[in-house]
């Protein structure tokens, strides 16, 4: 085409980014890579091909690590860890700062290499991924700097095994590595098999930064390498980003091992457009939501919900916008949609859309796809219902599915009608509407009038089957630190046996289960006699079974008002419980003494009253945060209740243990199902009478008595329970973690370790952290 032709047609032309430097970098390494272990490169071993999905060409041969090499990497990390953690925060900050600077200095090489390896448009790797990577290291250099002063009570976990996905290879590396090493951990990181190259370049800049050897180790390979990391006995923490399916496998594999775990998994995030929205902007937002990175984004706004009255016009405008999208060579600067990561992914997307055909109406960007490479046209499927498979399953490609709603309440209902809960987007020019809807959405991140906004200062992560844990911000550091307090092995307490000669002096008292504000007999009709050490019959406690557990969860789920109640009201109720407990202190003290045969009853009651005061105090004081994100506006980190928490109370402090778990949970707006101290359940059954007289709404606190081992499987496996706390004297940690994989609920287990319930470690922020989810709501503003 001549200039004159173009002058007439005004066509776009090619705007290729050169890949010369990146290819030269690969050539200089003979396109063969070993593993980066203990600061050194191993000889390339058995290798696999890394291909450019944009044209199918082989870029390099990357080593498939074996179990021995994973072990070597873990040993190197273990050796390096104490010294690394022993550095001052400032000394570590200097290394992170150097890494940030080096990412910036090699920014274009990283970007081009990423695009070659992954297929994402160069504009995205250059303008979004790599700058966010640098930002993440800068931010966490600051966290290392402030650690000594701001986090004096928390220390490194140890060695972190990190397994990252192929959709944002370098960015996910940064999200994993930066907070981990900032806090004094060392890491063994496995990039995704499709996309190892930028991680290998990152290994080189670790050397350039002078990072002590062993602090960052990078092992490449397929899922077997991930499995070897997950199974390795000397790893303290697993951080995984990837599919919900693999996340579930990892949850089960790490159950009972004592490994700390965070999972950032899939999503089917709703994108809600109200009729008062700036429609053109909402449509442009969709380009950033579902056609960003070919839709291969865990938090992609992939489910479009448009208010019915504007739906036709909205869809027409959306199709017109889609027609303008440019698909092609990812290295072209003017491409909107590049290549999917691999033929396998292309096949998966193609098959899902094919299988879903018949429901809804399909529109695709009219375009000619390149002959070679993994390309899929931007696709919109309108007229779907929530019951259609494509509305429920994550497609992980450039495919947007759509339905309509009538009212804000229905929008929320449809939005939450999903197993996932990663992100959500809301478009409305009405601040009342937007800020009303945002807290109601089951999601870890909500974007109001924007979408796919990310920053190191703002927490990112999900609820439900989108995983648990946050990355970014202060909340992200919880995933890489632990309280410095010491725990000790749990010594099991067995209930006192029935005496040969029973002493029964008192009038029979019937302890029941407490479900939905009512005292109910155990479904199974079995009870257990509770004996004092001296052989006195203290009473009977019901043996709760599966159905009792189910009923308790249903009652808790139904008590929705509690989460909406004001923090002030919740505080008042908890104070009231304390007041009533104090009034009956002697009775409770005597009960505890008689059950345990000790004399600590009075002190335990007093401490329980104090602990209730603690959480009544906290109820309205666990402030959220307004994050200084690079945006005219803010990102609010708000603490929301987790939902329904099942808590197994410790054996040794029958009243204080129960109060220590119940109070933080209900203070934060959760509803609880408590399994009382197994050997000494009668303090709990006395306690429900207090609840009855303290204005605790029915269903907010439910109390079961019985065998923890029997209840743990049911409650941890229950798909309508949001979290399980296992602080039991029974060894149920492994069971709880394993069964939690069903809906990937959060767990907090003691791993057969005990804490001093009377001391400082028996209360405080650690408990509140487990009782809350941080929801990050992005609110740009400007008129």
């Amino acid at each position: 085409m001549t200039v004159k032709d173009i002058f007439e047609t005004m066509e776009w032309g090619p705007a290729p980014e050169s890949d010369g430097e990146a290819q030269a970098w690969l050539d200089a390494r003979e396109r063969r890579f070993g593993l980066f272990i203990d600061g050194h490169w191993t000889e390339p071993g058995e290798t696999f091909e890394s291909r450019n999905p944009g044209n199918g060409e082989v870029l390099a041969h990357v080593t498939q690590a074996g179990a021995d090499e994973v072990d070597a990497a873990v040993r190197a990390a273990r050796r390096a860890q104490p010294k690394w953690a022993g550095l001052s925060g400032h000394q570590r900050a200097r290394f992170l700062y150097a890494l940030a600077r080096l990412v910036q200095k090699h920014a274009r090489l990283f970007a081009v290499l990423e695009t070659l390896d992954n297929g994402k448009p160069i504009r995205e790797s250059r303008d979004i991924d790599v700058p966010l990577v640098a930002r993440h290291f800068y931010y966490h250099a600051g966290m290392a700097q402030l650690q000594d002063a701001e986090l004096p009570d928390r220390g490194a976990l140890g060695v972190a095994g990190q397994i990252i996905p192929w959709n944002f290879p370098l960015l996910m590396l940064a999200w994993k590595v930066a907070p981990a090493i900032a806090m004094g951990n060392t890491v063994v990181l496995k990039p995704a098999e499709y996309t190892s190259l930028t991680a290998l370049l990152f290994a080189e800049i670790c050397t350039e930064a002078g990072l002590p050897r062993g602090v960052v180790n990078i092992v490449t390979g397929d899922g077997q390498v991930g499995a070897a990391i997950t199974a390795h006995e000397d790893i303290d923490k697993i951080a995984f980003t990837g599919s919900t399916e693999v996340g579930r496998i990892i949850r089960k594999a790490t159950a009972g091992t004592g490994k700390s775990l965070t999972l950032e998994l899939g999503g089917k995030s709703p994108y809600i457009v109200f009729d008062d929205a700036d429609i053109d902007s909402a449509i442009e937002g969709l380009v950033d939501a579902i056609w960003f990175n070919q839709g291969q984004v865990c938090c992609a706004g992939s489910r479009l919900l448009v208010q019915e009255g504007i739906a036709d016009r909205f869809h027409a405008k959306l199709k017109a916008r889609m027609a303008k999208l440019r698909i092609g060579d990812p290295l072209d600067k003017s491409i909107d949609v590049g290549a999917l990561v691999d033929p396998v992914q292309l096949d998966s997307v193609t098959r899902m859309v094919e299988a879903g055909k018949g429901a809804g109406e399909i529109y695709q960007t009219p375009c000619t796809l390149p002959n070679r490479g993994c390309y899929y046209p931007p696709t919109l499927i309108t007229g779907l219902a929530p019951s259609d498979t494509l509305m429920q399953e994550e497609i992980f490609g450039p495919v947007l599915v759509a339905t309509t709603f009538r009212t804000p309440a229905e929008a929320v209902e449809i939005a939450n009608n999903t197993r996932y809960g990663l992100a959500a987007t809301v478009w409305s020019e009405n601040i009342n509407l937007a800020l009303d809807v945002a807290p109601k959405l089951a999601a870890g991140v909500v974007w109001i009038n924007t979408t796919n906004a990310f920053d190191a200062a703002a927490g990112f992560g999900g609820v439900r089957e989108s995983g648990f844990g946050r990355e970014g911000g202060w909340e992200g550091l919880l995933a890489y630190t632990k309280p410095k307090g010491k725990t000790r092995p749990l010594s099991p307490i067995t209930a006192f046996p029935a005496p040969a000669q029973a002493k029964v002096d008192e009038l029979d008292r019937t302890a029941k289960l407490y479900i939905g504000g009512k005292q109910v007999r155990p479904d199974g009709g079995y009870s257990r006699a509770i004996w004092s050490p001296k052989g006195a019959l203290l009473g009977h406690a019901g043996l709760a079974n599966r159905k009792d557990a189910r009923n308790a969860v249903e009652a808790a789920r139904a008590a929705t008002g509690w989460a909406k109640a004001s923090a002030h009201l919740r505080a008042q109720v908890i104070y009231y419980i304390a007041e009533n407990l104090a009034a009956r202190a002697e009775e409770f003290a005597s009960r505890i003494n008689r059950m345990t045969g000790k004399r600590g009853g009075a002190a335990e009651v007093e401490k329980s009253v104090e602990r209730l005061f603690t959480y009544a105090a906290w109820a309205d004081k666990l402030d959220g945060a307004a994050k200084p994100v690079p945006l005219r506006g803010t990102a609010l980190a708000m603490n929301e209740p987790v939902g329904v928490i099942a808590a197994f109370c410790p054996d040794e402090a029958p009243l204080l243990g129960l109060v220590s778990l119940m109070a933080p949970a209900i203070a934060m707006g959760n509803r609880v199902v408590l399994a009382a101290s197994q050997p000494f359940p009668l303090a709990a059954t006395d306690f429900y009478q207090l609840l009855d007289t303290s204005d605790v709404p029915p269903g907010v606190v439910n109390i079961l008595t019985g065998f923890h081992n029997d209840l743990a499987g049911t409650l941890a496996g229950h798909l309508d329970v949001d979290a399980v706390w296992a602080q039991s004297g029974a060894d149920i940690s492994s069971l709880v973690e394993h069964e939690s994989a069903g809906n990937l609920k959060r767990t907090w287990v003691n791993n057969a370790r005990s804490r001093d319930w009377f001391g400082a470690e028996g209360e405080g922020r650690e408990f509140l952290h487990h009782a809350t989810e941080v929801k990050t709501t992005w609110i740009p503003w400007g008129e």
């Binding site: 200039v3 173009i6 005004m10 705007a15 902007s281 303008k324 003017s334 020019e429 503003w781 008129e783």
Partner: protein, 335 residues
Amino acid sequence: MQRESDASVTNRSADMQLPQTIEARNPGMALDMDWVMSAQANTSAIERRAGSIGARRSLKKDHQAAWLLKAITMIDLTTLAGDDTPGRVRRLCAKARQPVRPDLLDALGVGPITTGAICVYHEMVPTAVEALVGSGIPVAAVSTGFPAGLSPYRLRIMEIGESVKAGAREIDIVISRRHVLTGDWQALYDEVREMRRECGDAHIKTILATGELGSLRNVARASLVCMMAGADFIKTSTGKESVNATLPVSLVMMRAIRDYFERTGIRIGYKPAGGISKAKDALVYLALLKEELGDDWLTPHLFRFGASSLLGDIERQLEHHVTGQYSALWRHAMG
């Protein structure tokens, strides 16, 4: 621009025409307040889009040169200074006739081109008309008490007639910003409609003075009202406000134009003015135009730059394209 008898402002359906190469004039329509009030403009989202368009659409080599040549044909070469004289205006008109050095055009293989128009104050109209005889280049006159639009209403209307009589084929009127700021959309509509009537065959560009409207939402609504009242073009600024054409404002106005087209089938022109002085900026505006409004708008009939120094920068870029060497301003004839 095409001359055509003035269609009276009637209901839009009466004068609907199929799209054609030379645009049908906008007959206007009754003021539709529901439509006006439903217009929204989310500033942050608009800024995000405006901020990324430059990086999303890059033009290189021959494409860049061709697009820059096109940009030249869209320039309303402008002088609006108190010290304008006939000599100064004649010099500018000569530049409009031959905006690029012939050797560069030859090298690029593109025939003679001219700028889109010459834009002057009323007193300079006769000089400009005379200087442009035979060139086909229209003269645009700024009018209606430009730039503030606060002279007596009767005189503002009369000023249009005078300029048309003097030979101006395009009239750039300024709206009464106070009507927007007080939400008196009816008054704005009535004003523009009367001005449109006074323009007769001359095309009317309505200058919103977006830098003084307070919000992008007001820009969107004022754009719609002006189009409903019969504007042929909507234009951002006089060049005299402290903030003139910006990409976010342009995005809002282009989207209003698109909305108007979707509902009426009538294409309205767009003219960003003031502050666009670099070739690179011009390319970003054209990229936004192609993306938001489409190829139909990539013509001087529907898009103009109100600019005085932009041409010089484009000439330098064109010489760079031809020779491979960076150019200097003094190598290109001044206007």
